[in-house]
């Protein structure tokens, strides 16, 4: 019976094959097409899985930012610029661009504005110059680039990127960094480009205050609340792109009235900036010396990696407990690999922005 059946089926197939090649071809094509459709649909699904999630957060500095000292006009200026900046990065990410591009271009917008203590709006040193620091790190390869004491490069964050991608180094300083910037074709400006009346007046005010206080106690000048505020500023951005890569970047003019070519935490990988796809990306802002001593950005990542806690809990512990106990003030912004955001600070305010699930820009300044 079985043999008979086999022979029958075999003959039927032979008949179809011989007499109706056209029908068989159609059948074959439909089969292939179906299986192909299935594959394509799988690919789309996978691609959607890869491409759905992206996120971006920015800060424009933390400090004693109080509503009572802020005019409506000034507040609107800051909000408009933060919105403009974050949308540049958001659109790059939305269109499938890299988090590296998003972070650089977003920070460029803030560097080009006189509102923030970075690039155009950088504060003055004791010697009435502007010395800028910046760093950038990519979480997929733990690569990093940074510059410090830069005086004539329009966009320090773009130079940090070039150090990362086009040199064998991580950190370059001052005139050496400028020489490298020229070789890389970046925009060089006359140092006078960084002059703003507002920042120059701040320096004079602090010097006056310092003069009057120095007679009494050298250290008290540093703890005067007005002078303390002069330490804050800095801009930063953390982005997660559709490929799951996190990039973090920070750019600053440092501390008003800084001396002796002081370098803060912004160009220090692990303190001012850190990114690791396995954990998170972080950009810091605040009293740099404490952020260096606390290795703040890496400490948040390490708590996620080794304690298995969330970005939110790690950032809270590092800023509200460890940094605060050390006497440091400031904050961080961060993103983890799932796009969870964090804004943690122990100051009165932090200029900050994010984009929510609906694509709406959310901007905040004060503690809420």
């Amino acid at each position: 019976m079985y043999t008979f059946l086999c022979k029958f089926v075999s003959n039927v197939i032979k008949y179809i094959f011989m007499k109706n090649r056209f029908l068989l071809s159609i059948f074959f094509l439909v089969f292939i097409s179906c299986s192909h459709t299935e594959n394509t649909s799988d690919k789309v699904k996978n691609k959607q899985k890869q491409t759905n999630k992206f996120a971006i957060v920015i800060h424009g500095g933390a400090g004693t930012i109080l509503k009572k000292n802020m005019s409506v006009e000034k507040e609107q200026k800051y909000k408009a610029k933060l919105k403009e900046a974050i949308l540049v990065g958001y659109n790059i990410l939305k269109n499938g661009g890299t988090s590296l591009d998003a972070v650089e271009k977003t920070i460029n917008v803030m560097e080009d504005s006189p509102l923030f203590n970075a690039g155009k709006g950088a504060v003055f040193t004791h010697d009435e110059t502007n010395e800028m620091d910046a760093s950038i790190m990519t979480g997929n390869d733990l690569n990093a680039g940074a510059v410090a004491g830069v005086t004539n490069v329009k966009n320090p964050i773009s130079l940090a990127r070039k150090v990362m991608t086009n040199s064998n180094h991580v950190l370059l300083y001052g005139s050496g960094a400028s020489e490298f910037a020229k070789e890389q074709g970046l925009t060089i400006v006359d140092p006078s480009y960084f002059y703003t009346d507002k920042r120059f007046k701040s320096l004079q005010k602090i010097k006056e205050k310092e003069k009057s206080v120095l007679d009494h106690d050298e250290k008290s000048a540093f703890y005067d609340p007005d002078i303390k505020n002069s330490k804050y500023g800095t801009v930063g951005c953390v982005a997660l792109d559709k490929n799951g890569n996190i990039t973090a970047g920070t750019s600053t003019g440092g501390m008003t009235n800084k001396r002796w070519h002081r370098i803060g935490d912004s160009p220090i990988i692990g303190a001012g900036t850190y990114a690791n796809n396995a954990t998170c990306g972080i950009s810091s802002t605040g009293w740099g010396e404490y952020f260096i001593r606390g290795v703040v950005a890496h400490d948040i990542s390490a708590q996620i990696e080794y304690k298995g806690i969330s970005l939110k809990d790690a950032a809270k512990d590092v800023i509200q407990n460890k940094l605060t106990n050390l006497g440091g003030t400031g904050g961080v912004i961060g993103l983890d690999k799932k796009g969870n955001m964090v804004f943690e600070f122990n100051t009165a305010g932090m200029y900050r922005a994010s984009v929510n699930d609906k694509g709406e820009v959310v901007i905040k300044i004060y503690k809420q």
Copy 2:
């Protein structure tokens, strides 16, 4: 019955108190005296606990140090200088001095020797200058000081200490750091003090090699094993004093032929140096860029703090797994709060020394 007993005891006490105040006073004095003796004895025990344990470890750089390339005479020179250096710190600790003093003075000995790539023996930059970096950190208060790009300060580690204790900053650069050094009364030397024939010839050799290789592939010059070795050097020390305080310090001339005012990991807190009484002290040596990207010194501390593993296991994971996977080469020395030592490196050798329980100096160069 209970009421009766209470009344009886109360009456007995009253009787003793009224009739024999003298006896009661004696009893009271003996009681106080005993409890005081107990307290004092506790204090002595605690003090002994605090004062028994101290330890010190040093390194003079890691790299492709092979026995076949080393003459007996050269080896003896290195060993003698390592012994001299560690004994300076050991004696400070033994006599109840601070780990801060021990680390500074030990490193000073190595900085003053032309044998090591730090201070007197610093390597040359591409521009035929010497730019030195150093940092120091104390584990009891997480305080830190560092300098980079210093060209005329005899002992960069001493300047790093002054930055930590006498300024409000952590990291100063170049001419600014020198200005601060002068204000602090440190020894300033003419930059020609750092000229040594050996280091100058190394620079010329590398430049020649670079010239011939650059025509083919810019990057290959960097991966040439001979040039790769030029990155190594650096000296470092970690000490634990009788009060349980850990200090770590690192000093270096950086990378031969370095350009653009490159800064390595040695002045970066968290990368080249880290100290925390609760975990460990670490000094790094190796290809600086990788140590910055890996935040190596802090990562070892973080694994102890958050994973609860030993210094040995943490150092092994960070150097043999994480740093090696990143492509970095070099090593670390470290001490934990109990005085446990670690020497971990993924290179052929590391100049290193420690003092064992019997007070004997143990010096090693190659992998053993």
